[in-house]
């Protein structure tokens, strides 16, 4: 039976893992993610969840254990943040290269130095070339839903890629809001047990994984690329199925358009800031201004066709980046420009959790139409 409770983004991530009946959770604590694995450890200790909790000595080992545990055919989960995700980098490529459907939550937090505990997307975007699917969540409900849906997408035989699910540190991770928790029966019908055929370590049927190759290497990368392309249809189909069951489809799975029909000015954004931007759009629309928003829900696969479809008729486009690639610019703005084949106004804002707020979004809407990079302090 469904229940509606006040839970944090971290709590929602833990609930997603519990409902998906994950079996092994290698973990290492880091703020602001720690509450996710704390909650899971309490559930395991009290018998509410049947899983193995593996405290590791570093995040590098966590990622190694995720890959190893997934290789023997178990459903695995973990969570990390910021520097922890950086320490996993080497093994992130191994997990995706071995085509293991690992689901991991990243609670985004700005990278050191200097130290910040607040949200910033540079940590997760550093991993954009690692062959993992990437989903950015806008609220706590979407976190729970995305973790459960994540397994169904990642384990699909046309995908078989790991997935990073991003939720914004503090803004979602420590904020409680009402979340519908689906019943276990409902989820069991939606998400069958993981039954891998492609790669499984079994002493009775020995298999070599990730061995040395030479000329073949490029075929493996080509297959990863194809899997990424395939994932778009699977994400859309799984979101449609989820919507039928729960009433929540999260846009078309790839992008969430908001008030785009007659928009003359549109801001492209991702993550939890999109809620404040919706508030601003509502406010400006009430004054008769034709403004809208396009939220990117998947960063990998990058929803290029969907962006072109949504924005080709829009005159003035801006992109909000809570990240910066020094020497290049906003990472998302660069990719949006490449899709559209024309300039956009690139706004760098909210780095290290710096407050943007509805009043600044109103001003930003007034500054579109120039192909420049502008920092919003």
């Amino acid at each position: 039976m469904n229940t509606r409770r006040m839970i944090t983004g971290n709590g929602a991530a833990a609930w997603g893992a519990r409902l998906a009946r994950v079996e092994i959770i290698p973990n290492f604590p880091i703020t602001p993610q720690t509450a996710i694995i704390e909650e899971i450890s309490l559930w395991i200790a009290s018998g509410k969840m049947d899983a193995d909790f593996l405290p590791m000595e570093s995040e590098h080992s966590v990622q190694s254990a995720l890959a190893a545990a997934s290789s023997v055919g178990t459903r695995v989960f973990s969570a990390t943040s910021s520097q922890g995700l950086m320490l996993m980098t080497e093994m992130m490529f191994v997990t995706s290269g071995l085509r293991l459907p690992v689901i991991m939550v990243n609670v985004s937090r700005g990278l050191s130095a200097p130290i910040t505990l607040w949200s910033d997307h540079n940590d997760v975007l550093v991993q954009r070339d690692s062959g993992w699917l990437q989903i950015f969540c806008s609220n706590n409900q979407e976190v729970l839903d995305s973790v459960v849906m994540g397994y169904k997408i990642a384990e699909n035989s046309n995908v078989l890629l790991p997935m990073l699910i991003n939720l914004d540190g503090f803004t979602l991770s420590a904020t409680r809001e009402p979340v519908e928790i689906p019943g276990q029966d409902e989820i069991d019908d939606f998400l069958p047990a993981y039954n891998p055929k492609h790669t499984i370590l079994d002493p009775k049927e020995p298999m070599s994984m990730g061995g040395v190759v030479f000329n073949e290497y490029m075929y493996f990368r080509s297959q990863q690329r194809m899997a990424m392309c395939n994932s778009k249809d699977i994400i859309t189909a799984v979101c449609a199925e989820w919507e039928k069951m729960t009433g929540r489809g999260w846009g078309r799975g790839l992008v969430e358009p908001y008030c785009l029909e007659d928009s003359e000015r549109v801001l492209v954004i991702c993550g939890s800031e999109s809620a404040i931007l919706k508030y601003t759009v509502d406010k400006l629309r009430a004054k008769g201004e034709k403004v809208g928003m396009l939220r990117l829900r998947t960063m990998r696969p990058f929803p290029c066709e969907e962006i072109v479809d949504a924005l080709s008729d829009v005159e003035k486009i801006g992109v909000i980046d809570q990240d910066i690639s020094p020497g290049s610019g906003g990472i998302i703005a660069t990719e949006v420009k490449a899709c559209l084949g024309r300039g956009v106004t690139s706004f760098i804002a909210g780095l290290g959790g710096r407050r943007i707020g509805a009043e600044k979004y109103e001003k930003i809407f007034g500054r579109l139409g120039r192909d420049v990079e502008e920092w919003i302090f």
């Binding site: 509606r4 409770r5 006040m6 503090f170 803004t171 420590a174 904020t175 409680r176 809001e177 009402p178 939890s272 800031e273 809620a275 404040i276 919706k278 508030y279 509502d282 407050r355 707020g357 509805a358």
Partner: protein, 194 residues
């Protein structure tokens, strides 16, 4: 939408206060958002928590700068933080202090035109719990003054949020809060949503 900012010190139950309000709001059939703001969390350090309440899903996020209700669980916060500047004209302030409102306003002229309620939450907490932890009692004052949440939803929410504590401590907290509510009922005329 109604926005509440709560100040206090680590150990006084600032975060639990916000959680009780959020959970009670959900039981009342409305939408809520509650969240804390702290640096390195430790007993005695200044802590803030926030609550948003609305009859539709809440889109705004982050720090509340212009609260409808400001609650101070510890008046000594005033000495380390400027909590009274830039408050909106319709802000209701509830302060846990043994001073009376007239003396308090005389000492803090910046809030002389706002609706200020000086309440002795710690006194009631000492009487009912034998402990100087005033947070649940202060919510009783808040209910009496503003009627933001119903008493039934409040009681259920306290039982939810304090479930790791002994049942008799929970009962004493609720009894203290109901006493506080009774003391101030009729003192205010609710608060207005913006």
């Amino acid at each position: 939408m109604l926005e509440i900012t709560i100040h206090g010190r680590g150990g006084q139950g600032v975060v639990v206060t916000s959680r009780i309000l959020g959970t009670a709001t959900l039981y009342d059939g409305l939408y809520a958002q509650d969240f804390p703001l702290y640096g390195a969390a430790r007993r005695g350090a200044p802590v803030m928590a926030f609550v948003r309440i609305d009859n539709k899903p809440i889109l705004l996020r982050g720090y509340i700068a212009k609260p409808n209700v400001l609650m101070l669980l510890d008046e000594s916060i005033i000495e380390v933080k400027d909590v009274f500047s830039d408050l909106p004209a319709d802000c209701t302030i509830i302060i846990n202090t043994t001073r009376n409102t007239r003396d308090f306003k005389a000492a803090h002229p910046e809030i002389k035109d706002l609706r200020v309620f000086c309440v002795d939450g710690t006194g009631i907490a000492l009487e009912y719990l034998k402990k100087p932890i005033p947070n649940v009692v202060i919510i009783g004052f808040l209910i009496g003054i503003t009627h933001l949440i119903t008493v039934d939803a409040f009681k259920t929410a306290v039982r939810d949020e304090l479930k790791k504590y002994p049942p008799d401590l929970i009962d004493k907290n609720i009894a203290g809060a109901l006493k506080a509510c009774e003391l101030v009922t009729g003192a205010g005329a609710g608060v207005t949503a913006r």
